[in-house]
């Protein structure tokens, strides 16, 4: 017994020493807790160094860059059609949604508009990737507060959506399907009906999650009133998406600054919650998944006939200019600032990813919370490391 215990202590000491390699931590007051880089709550490799006073966090510092792939530099040596392959890998749970803003920015510069059918199918796929992305969050958030079952339901039901995306695009995770001027291919036969049944299944999934998680007493105790973000703070940190709407800011790019997608054609609602706590972030995302089901169902009924590609030259040279296009991605606002100098490759691409801004609030937000709340707050902010590190 004694030997194993001392061995354990030595191991923990070595770990702690290792944790301080690239961060200087003053050890005089409080204790330093290292989370990650490999931690189940982080969706990738994020590391958080927290300074504790007892159970309370005095300061927390996220450390990223373990997955930085330098996409902004790489886009400068790729032609425009090749860039979609890169941006697919930013938010890997909702890949198709990443391609859309870049393609729209390039289309804006070229003054090309995709034909209506392509716009409708784009919107359907966009919302499908939203469901695929957020459904995993719904399960994962429950895991972080101690309920293991919901995540398996989420993985099970998400597969239906991924199958539908795969049937159109050929890829479960990296569709690489969007093209400047339209889409690579048309919908396969019978896809619309199948997607209709899948949407029914996802509705049931949302109901199931509501029963399993939202009404759960432990879940409420762990999330209500925890990690409250007031609207002014959320805005000044650039929080977007469900995180912003959960703080009561009624703002959705799909409704208020829509570019190139057909959200005006359907009847839907933007959900907000006044509380700004972890619970409301979960609640807003749950409602959004339902709303995405609504949007898809309405769109499927009215996809117009016609071509799926506009006339674009084979070799794409984009005229000089600058364009910024943002879309309401599953994680929040994702935008591409594309500077072109009339070349085959972009001159400069600035990727505005949602998780980077959403994460930047954590040093402020984690100050003063208790240790177990770190996990539930991080889970409720919902970030994907590929989206932070780019």
């Amino acid at each position: 017994m004694v030997t194993t215990e001392s061995e354990q202590m030595a191991y923990i000491a070595a770990q702690a020493a290792d944790a301080r390699v690239n961060v200087e931590v003053e050890t005089d007051e409080g204790m330093t807790l290292n989370l990650g880089p490999q931690h189940p709550a982080t969706h990738g490799t994020l590391r958080i160094i927290a300074k504790l006073d007892g159970e309370k966090v005095i300061a927390a510092e996220p450390i990223m860059g373990y997955m930085h792939r330098g996409y902004e530099k790489l886009t400068e040596v790729r032609t425009y059609p090749q860039v979609t392959t890169l941006v697919n890998r930013i938010d890997w749970l909702g890949s198709f949604a990443n391609e859309v803003p870049f393609i729209l920015a390039a289309e804006q510069l070229m003054d090309v508009e995709a034909p209506p059918r392509a716009q409708w199918i784009r919107t359907v796929l966009f919302e499908l990737s939203r469901i695929a992305n957020i459904s995993l969050f719904l399960g994962d958030m429950a895991v972080q507060v101690g309920a293991t079952t919901p995540v398996f339901y989420a993985f099970r039901d998400r597969e239906f959506v991924l199958n539908q995306i795969e049937r159109v695009t050929g890829g479960r995770f990296h569709p690489n399907f969007d093209r400047i001027g339209g889409l690579k291919d048309d919908l396969p036969k019978g896809w619309i009906e199948e997607t209709g049944t899948v949407i029914g299944k996802m509705r049931d999934f949302c109901d199931e999650m509501e029963e399993l998680v939202l009404g759960n007493e432990i879940f409420q105790a762990r999330t209500r009133g925890i990690g409250v973000i007031p609207p002014e703070v959320a805005l000044s940190y650039g929080l977007s998406g469900a995180n912003l709407r959960a703080s009561g800011v009624d703002w959705d790019i799909r409704r208020d600054a829509n570019v190139g997608l057909v959200y005006d054609e359907v009847d839907w609602k933007v959900w907000t919650h006044p509380d700004g706590d972890s619970f409301s972030r979960f609640w807003v995302r749950l409602q959004e998944t339902r709303e995405a089901c609504n949007i898809i169902e309405q769109l499927l009924g009215g996809i117009p006939a016609g071509p799926i590609m506009a006339k674009v030259p084979r070799i794409i040279k984009v005229p000089a200019g600058e364009a910024y296009v943002a879309t309401e991605n599953p994680l929040g606002e994702m935008g591409f600032y594309v500077v072109s100098q009339g070349d085959l490759t972009p001159f400069r691409v600035k990727i505005r990813s949602a998780s980077f801004s959403n994460m930047s609030i954590t040093p402020w937000l984690l100050k003063g919370v208790f240790v177990p709340d770190i996990i539930s707050i991080l889970a409720s902010l919902y970030f994907i490391l590929g989206d932070i590190d780019r």
């Binding site: 860059g65 040596v77 032609t79 805005l235």
Partner: protein, 252 residues
Amino acid sequence: MAEIPEHLLKRAQAAREKAESQQKTETTDSTQPQETEETKEVEEIVDPTDENAEEALSILKTALEEKILDSHIAPGRGLWIRVHVEDWRSAAKAAKETLDCTFFDWLSAIDWMPSPYGREHETEQDQIVDASEESEEKEMEWGYTGGETRFQLICRVYSISKKIGVMIKADLPDSDPRALSLIPIYAGANWHEREAREMFGVTFDEHPDLRNIYLPGDFEGHPLRKDYPLLSRRMKPWPGIVDVELLPGDEE
């Protein structure tokens, strides 16, 4: 030899028919393209005014007066203004106070120097041009609102009440690129400025903590500067070209 599956044959047939029908429509189209083009042009001349952006610009102009060096409105796409680097913080403050731009979108920099390394698509490797010869010939071209120096800061803030996004640009001095930090106005600028610092080497005064955010602490150089070589691209030929193998019997 295996038979060609039926569905592939059908698909090929369908594609052929489609191509033929498209050719027909193209030829019929070509008789009347001039009319449609003319009508389009008329529409385009009427359309490009953006009242929202014009109004926002006039509000900013009254607030900042001569501090706005240049402005650009792309109808329906946004508003760009350029200010002197000394007015960088006051421009952001004016946007927040007069235009209600409470949403901090992003902040970054642009290096307008033409890349000293070739970017030819067809070549197997980046052409390593002798920097001293070429860079003199190539001149810097700036984007909207022009520019004077190599580095430009750019920041986008958004007004949710007025539904207008403003891009604020500022030229940075070549010798010592530095600007005032925007943190007192937008707390979210913190990480964006750290990123701009490590990627472009822009210093932000009054920033509490300008450590690297992505790169290791002892990393040398600023990777997003145009003169920073992309090593993997220099070591290896363009992906795709190298993978082409000769077919058997196919000699040089």
